[in-house]
Symmetry: C2
Subunit: 244 residues, 2 copies
Amino acid sequence: MLRDGSGSTEELSTTGRVADVLRERIVEGALPPGTALREVAVAAELEVSRNTLREALRSLASEGLVVQTPNRGVSVRALTAAEVRDIYRTRRVLETQAATESAVADEAHFTAMADAVAAKERAERARRWTEAGTASLHFHQALVAVLGSHRIDEFFRTLLAQLRLAWAASRDEERFQRGWAARDRELFELLRRGHRTQSVGVLLVYLEDSERQVLDGLRQARGAPPDDRSERNARGRSPRADAT
Amino acid sequence: MLRDGSGSTEELSTTGRVADVLRERIVEGALPPGTALREVAVAAELEVSRNTLREALRSLASEGLVVQTPNRGVSVRALTAAEVRDIYRTRRVLETQAATESAVADEAHFTAMADAVAAKERAERARRWTEAGTASLHFHQALVAVLGSHRIDEFFRTLLAQLRLAWAASRDEERFQRGWAARDRELFELLRRGHRTQSVGVLLVYLEDSERQVLDGLRQARGAPPDDRSERNARGRSPRADAT
DNA sequence: TCGCCAAGGATTGTTCAACAAGGGTCAATG
DNA sequence: CATTGACCCTTGTTGAACAATCCTTGGCGA
C-alpha cells in the first residue's frame, strides 16, 4: 500500500513475498512495535523455511521497520522520541526544499498531489482512517517527488513507513487522521498557486504540529498501559507477542 | 573506510563481517562493476555457508552496491549515466541545504570538515589517490551532517559509497582526485566564514563539474575496451569475473 | 523472606546437503 | 545459417542439525 506502484503482474521471489507480507502487517499495525518475531513461529505460519525468512527479515531491517539485536532476534521497531524527531528533521529538509522547487514543477506532479489530497478527503469523509493515513503519506510523497530523484523518493518512502509505525501503534488512528485533510488541502493550494515562501511557512507549521501529535501519541502509548514498557515484554509471557 | 566510525571493539556477526568485507572490496574497486558474485565461489573463499553469504548480499543489495536479478544472482552494480545524474541531483538537494544551514552550525561540524579537508590535502600531496577520494567523501559527509539528521547521514553514506563505485571503475583514480583538494578548501573557507549564498553558488559549480567528470569517466570506461560491455561478460568467460 | 546461583529450556546464529527451476551453452539438425 | 534440444551451471528454497547465547526457573543458603 505504501509500496511503489509497480503494480500487477509482479513476479516476486518467495523472499520478496514474505518481506511484503511482513511489511504490510507491520505498517498496518497488525504487528505492533516491540513485537518479537520468532523465527520458527513466523516461518511456520508463512510456510517458508527459516533461511528464507531470515533473508526477508534482513531486508526489513535495512528499511528500518525492524531491529535486529544480536542473539535476541528481530522485533518490530519501537520508535523513540529522538527517532521521531530525527524523522521530522529529515522531512523538513526534503519537503521544504520540494515546496520551494515546486514553483517550477512538472504538471504531472501536481496532479499526483491533487489525487492524493482528494483521496484523503474522501477517506476522511468516509471515516476510513487507515486509508486516510495512506493518502496523506501519498500526498507528501508526491510533494517530495518534485525533487526528481529516484533515490530520494525511495528514501522518503522508507521514512514514511517508519512514521506510520508510530501511528499504527496508537490504538485509535482517528485521532491521528481527523481534520488533516483540510490542512493538506490548504498546503496543496498554496503550492499549486506557486506561493513559494508562504507555502514553506505553512508547511513548517504543519510538520511542527504533526510532529507534536506523534510525540504525544508516543508518550501516551508508553505511559497508559500500566505494565507495558513496549520493550521489556517483547520476549516472555505477553499474551500475543509472537506473530502467529 | 566509509563505514561509520563506531570503531574498535565492535562484535560483529558472521553475516555482518562478510558484508563488510564485500563492501570494502566493492568500494575499493577490487570487484569492478558488473562482476558477478557467484554464491558458491564467494562463500567458499570467505569460508562461510551459502546461506550466510546470501544474507550479507541482501544487505549490500539494499545499500545499492549490488544488484539482484532473479535467477541470475547478484553482481556489483554498474551505474548508468542516469543513475549518476540521480545521485548528483540528490547531492545538490542535501548539500546546498546543508551549506545554507551551515551558517548556524555547531563548531564541531566545522572541525570535522576542516579535518577532512586537511586529510585530503595531505593525501593529494602524497599522491595517495584512494585515500584522497575517501577524504573528499568525508568532507561532504561532514557538510551534510550539519543537517543534524542521523537518517540523512546514513542515506548520504550509501549514496557516496555508490558514487565511489564509479570512481573505482575507472582505471586511474588520479584523474578523478587530482586538483580537487583546492576546491574543497575553497568551499570550506566560504562555509566557515558564513558566506551563505556565495558558498551555495560555488558548491553548485563544484557538483556540476564533479558530475561531468564522473559521467565522462563512465562514458570512457564503457567505450574504451573493445569488447567490454561491462554487463555482457559479467557471466561467461571473462578471465577473472568471479570473486575468488 | 530475600537474594544468589546453577540447571534447563528456548531461541538465535550458522552450517551442510539436497533438489527443483531457470538460464545459458553448444552441438546437432533441418 | 537459424532453430531446436540436450546438457550443465547457477540460483532459489528447503529441512535438519548443532553450538552459542539468553531467559527462566527452581533450589539453595543467609
